[in-house]
């Protein structure tokens, strides 16, 4: 018999509506699963099962009083960089290892409003800087498909939790691929919405102009449900775009025949992994079968995506992370003889190597005399990348490309080689640079039985188109039904 924790949010919602189960039962099932496998996976930094059960009871009471929205009573996990009042939010870092926010992030408020059950906060690369969840102060998360491999990052905990049944759905944040890569590595669905679609208020900032919160789920239908809760204008975030978002569930069964998908030459020419190539070919065949036509595209500036990203993101990070100084909250060094030493020791102890590397990169690039050559140049490249995509979308409705160059790599494989680690995000970073929505879907398994994702990219605020294409793809395939055996 299928356990409750194995079901999708959509299936659970229907069971709840019919009165076949309760939020408390679902939450208990998930908590039991967490107790069983968490030690093997380490998806969570701070799980809060007791509070989750309280929330589940409340959700059941609301339902008894007649409330009926789809996600009422569905357990969700958040990422450790989303502030939740009274819940430790460490951002995977020692420097915030004792930080308990006095306020809720807007997405957390939205989940509470929807009556969702918040299970706890998931592991992540420290300050979301990394592609493997190995830079976390709390130790790495393991890939449920192969525990010697990484779940991808930085939202590795959120992806692994859904993959391993430790959460029904979850949210992550994506600055250069941090939702799409772990979704690909863990065999689940993940979407980075358009920059400005989801409020960043309460998301501990890494690179403010790139960060975006988005959902993880076992299938595209669950993503649609979550997008309905996440996508909304927030007056507390000046970069949140005031607009009316559609009901994303209305496009789930819409036909896609006649749509055009673009294949960027620059991306496909880089493929040198046979399994990834095979998965991409198969995906094209599936879409072809759905009545979709393909156009070949050239987006020459995409090649500069990583270079420009590793200027802009560290520049913003160097400023965003300046506030962690031991004065107001978080870790403070125990021994110091003056203020400057307090700053220095606190930050030396509080931040890990990758965070320090990026703070130094950014500080250097913003320094007087270097600003024009680095930051300004990178900003111009960013504009060119955006223009490349805009031109491409005149020829097609969406773009298909890989999420990552390889299936999940081994723990420790790239952690000492930052450049190799950075190159993992070659297909995801340009999407953040242009602020576009990107969807990561399970596309099949490697010869070793490891998940490989495919990526669909749409024009700004066309999340519904991604949902429509993704749902059509999942009607024809069953890659999303594959589960790791743990």
């Amino acid at each position: 018999m299928t356990e409750l924790y194995e079901m999708t949010a959509w299936q659970l919602a229907e069971a709840l509506e019919k009165g076949h189960t309760s939020s408390v039962d679902i939450t208990r099932s998930v908590i039991k699963r967490i107790e069983a496998v968490e030690e093997l996976i380490h998806a969570y930094v701070t799980a809060a099962p007791e509070r989750a059960l309280e929330m589940a009871k409340e959700a059941d009471m609301k339902r008894a009083r007649g409330a009926s929205n789809k996600l009422l009573g569905i357990p969700i996990a958040i990422k450790d960089n989303m502030c939740m009042k009274g819940h430790r939010t460490s951002c995977g870092s020692r420097i915030l290892s004792n930080f308990v926010p006095p306020y809720d992030a807007t997405v957390v408020s939205a989940m509470k409003e929807a009556g969702m059950v918040i299970l706890g906060s998931c592991n992540m690369d420290e300050f979301a800087m990394g592609s493997s969840t190995e830079t976390s102060f709390w130790g790495p998360t393991r890939n449920p498909w192969d525990r010697d491999r990484t779940p991808g990052g930085s939202s590795g905990g959120s992806a692994a939790a859904v993959s391993a049944g430790e959460a029904v759905v979850s949210v992550g944040s994506d600055t250069g691929g941090s939702i799409r890569l772990p979704a690909s590595f863990c065999g689940v669905c993940g979407m980075k919405p358009t920059y400005g679609a989801v409020s960043r208020y309460g998301l501990v900032a890494y690179a403010s102009s790139l960060d975006q919160i988005g959902p993880f789920g076992k299938d595209v239908r669950d993503l649609a449900l979550l997008l309905n809760v996440l996508c909304r204008h927030d007056p507390k975030d000046s970069t949140s775009v005031p607009r009316q978002h559609p009901d994303f569930t209305t496009v789930l069964d819409a036909p896609v025949a006649g749509m055009k998908i673009g294949l960027p030459r620059e991306f496909f020419s880089k493929l040198d992994h046979p399994d990834v190539e095979r998965v991409m070919k198969e995906a094209q065949r599936v879409f072809h079968g759905l009545g979709i036509r393909f156009v070949e595209l050239s987006l020459p500036y995409l090649d500069y995506g990583i270079a420009a990203y590793y200027i802009i993101a560290p520049c913003e990070a160097s400023s965003n992370l300046a506030r962690y100084d031991g004065v107001k909250y978080g870790h403070r060094a125990a021994d110091f003889s003056n203020m400057i030493d307090m700053y220095r020791y606190t930050r030396a102890e509080g931040f890990g190597a990758e965070v320090k590397r990026r703070i130094m990169l950014g500080t250097y690039a913003l320094s007087s005399g270097y600003y024009d050559a680095y930051y300004l140049k990178a900003a111009k490249v960013r504009t060119l990348i955006t223009q490349d995509f805009k031109a491409a979308f005149k020829k097609c409705d969406a773009i298909l490309c890989p999420v990552a160059p390889t299936p999940p790599f081994k723990l420790g494989e790239k952690i000492d080689d930052p450049i190799q680690m950075y190159l993992t995000d070659v297909f995801t970073i340009p999407v953040n640079m242009a602020g576009l929505p990107g969807l990561s879907l399970p596309g099949g398994l490697s010869a070793d039985g490891l998940p490989i994702g495919i990526q669909l990219i749409a024009p700004h605020f066309e999340e519904a188109r991604l949902i429509q294409l993704g749902a059509a793809y999942q009607r024809e395939t069953d890659h999303h039904l594959a589960r790791p055996s743990i």
Binding site: N81, M82, C83, T89, C91, L96, F99, P101, P102, Y103, A105, R200, Y201, G202, L203, V204, A205, A207, S208, S209, P235, K236, D237, S238, T239, C315, E316, S318, S319, A322, R323, Y324, D325, V327, K328, Y329, M339, Y343, T363, L366, S367, S368, Y371, Y375
Partner: protein, 478 residues
């Protein structure tokens, strides 16, 4: 060689908005430390700024009053530096694209006026305050002021003397207060000034090495610090030394400046556009709306007062030094149209009492109607000028009107000729010696006789009538 000074000023003015620049905390001064704070101004992880529209409106007011070009698109930038009074360790400011540029204001100079260029006006947020207790090994941080909106007004290096600098500063101050966007309090720090000063040979067009002066919390100190610095640089150049580019701190107790940090030690603020705030668009309609609501500015009002009320320039200057005072004058003059008389009363009596009471609102204790009534009582001869002054003091102290004070104190002037004539006769009869002296030519004794009658009436006699009657009675004796 003779040198001339080149001076430019950077003024920070705190805006009188009810809430902070990027969150909804109150800006009220003097609350319990750290009570005017929220996660946003405390720089908690994850918070985001949302710009206060009112601060924009106030800045546009100032920009228009300073004849600036307002940039349709401006940007907020982060100024990065570490200090415990700055919770985010960066200040939201404007750098490459300020709100307004290329303006000017006029200052009085000799017989004419001089234009001082305004390089830029930009918006930023204030920092908090550190409180040091020397008996303790730590300091206190008060973040109530953190995030209060500021504007920075940067002048061109157009001033040549400390006096010009002070005149410019006063003119800016007066505009800010007129616009009701800043309370102008230099001691509490809501109006602050840094100065840049360098010397160059007379007639030269180039610029010498400048020093930046800080910590001058009054107009007088700005002038003193500049004079000290000009003298110091003059001496240095005269003895063949070079002036070093540096920041110098003014010490009000010694009147001297001393080196604070050199150019090499200057911060690299690593400015870059704040990614949390979108480029700020200011529409032409918004600017026109603000322009249409601008009040008359100090200089315009001064000129109008000279023309419309035929006042001396000095009177107009004093009366328009504050908008409230000017309004008081105009309202009083509307009721009592002898402008010069009103001006005299406002400039001497009213200002004296306001100063004594440390009050800057003239209408808080007396109204223009009350002053006009008093002046009319004087004209009708009900009270003498001297009595009027006493009555005015009483009015100012108690807030009561002139008539009721006159009635209560029996201060009505005695103008009854019969009554006064008998007092005059009595005074002359009781002082035959003085009368004889008067008659023999010592006419200055008339004042003595007036005094006697005034004394007999306890000051209530109408002096003009007493004078007239004395001359008549003494004439009869001649």
């Amino acid at each position: 060689m003779k040198y001339e000074a080149v001076i430019g000023l950077e003024v920070h003015a705190q805006l009188l908005t009810a809430s902070k620049a990027f969150c909804s905390c109150t800006t009220k001064f003097g609350n319990v430390p750290n009570s005017n704070t929220c996660p946003i101004c405390l720089g908690m992880p994850g918070v985001l700024p949302v710009f206060n529209k009112r601060a924009l409106e106030f800045t546009v007011r100032m920009a228009l009053a300073c004849n600036c070009t307002i940039n349709e698109i401006s940007r907020f930038a982060r100024k990065n530096y570490y200090y415990p009074d700055l919770p985010k360790n960066y200040q939201i400011s404007q750098y490459e694209l300020p709100l307004a540029e290329h303006g000017w204001i006029e200052i009085d100079e000799g017989n004419g006026t001089k234009k001082i260029g305004i390089t830029r006006i930009h918006m930023e947020e204030d920092a908090g305050k550190l409180i040091h207790d020397e008996t303790k090994a730590y300091s206190y941080v008060d973040l109530n002021r953190t995030g209060v909106p500021l504007i920075e007004i940067v002048s061109e290096p157009d001033m040549r003397t400390p006096e010009e600098a002070a005149a410019y500063l006063k003119a800016l101050h007066s505009i800010l207060v007129y616009l009701e966007i800043c309370d102008g309090n230099m001691e509490e720090g809501s109006f602050r000034c840094d100065a840049n000063v360098s010397l160059r040979p007379h007639g030269s067009k180039g610029l010498g090495v400048k020093t930046e002066l800080k910590n001058m919390n009054s107009f007088r100190n700005v002038q003193k610090a500049l004079q000290y610095e000009i003298d110091r640089q003059n001496e240095a150049l005269a003895s063949g030394e070079v002036v070093v580019q540096e920041t110098r701190l003014f010490d009000p107790s010694t009147g001297a400046t001393s080196s604070m940090r050199s150019k090499e030690q200057a911060h690299d603020y690593r400015y870059f556009p704040d990614p949390d705030l979108l480029p700020l668009k200011v529409s032409a309609e918004f600017v026109e709306q603000v322009r249409s609501e601008l009040p008359e500015l100090p200089m315009q009002k001064r000129n109008r007062f000279v023309e419309q009320y035929q006042l001396p320039r000095y009177d107009a200057d004093v009366l328009t030094s504050s908008r409230l005072l000017a309004d008081f004058f105009e309202k009083t003059t509307a009721l009592y149209p002898q402008a010069k008389t009103v001006s005299n009363w406002v400039m001497t009596e009213l200002l004296r009492l306001m100063k004594a009471a440390n009050e800057d609102n003239p209408s808080r204790r007396v109204s223009p109607e009350m002053l006009a009534d008093l002046l009319q009582l004087m004209d009708k001869g009900v009270v003498s000028g001297k009595m009027a002054k006493t009555i005015f003091e009483e009015m100012y102290d108690t807030g009561r009107d002139a008539s009721s004070i006159v009635k209560e104190k029996g201060l009505v002037q005695v103008s009854d000729e019969d009554e006064l004539r008998s007092l005059v006769r009595k005074a002359l009869a009781e002082n035959p010696k003085e009368v004889a002296k008067y008659l023999s030519g010592k006419t200055q004794l008339l004042g003595h006789f007036v005094g006697l009658v005034m004394k007999a009436t306890r000051g209530k006699a109408n002096p003009a009538i007493v004078n007239k009657l004395l001359l008549e009675e003494l004439g009869k004796k001649a």
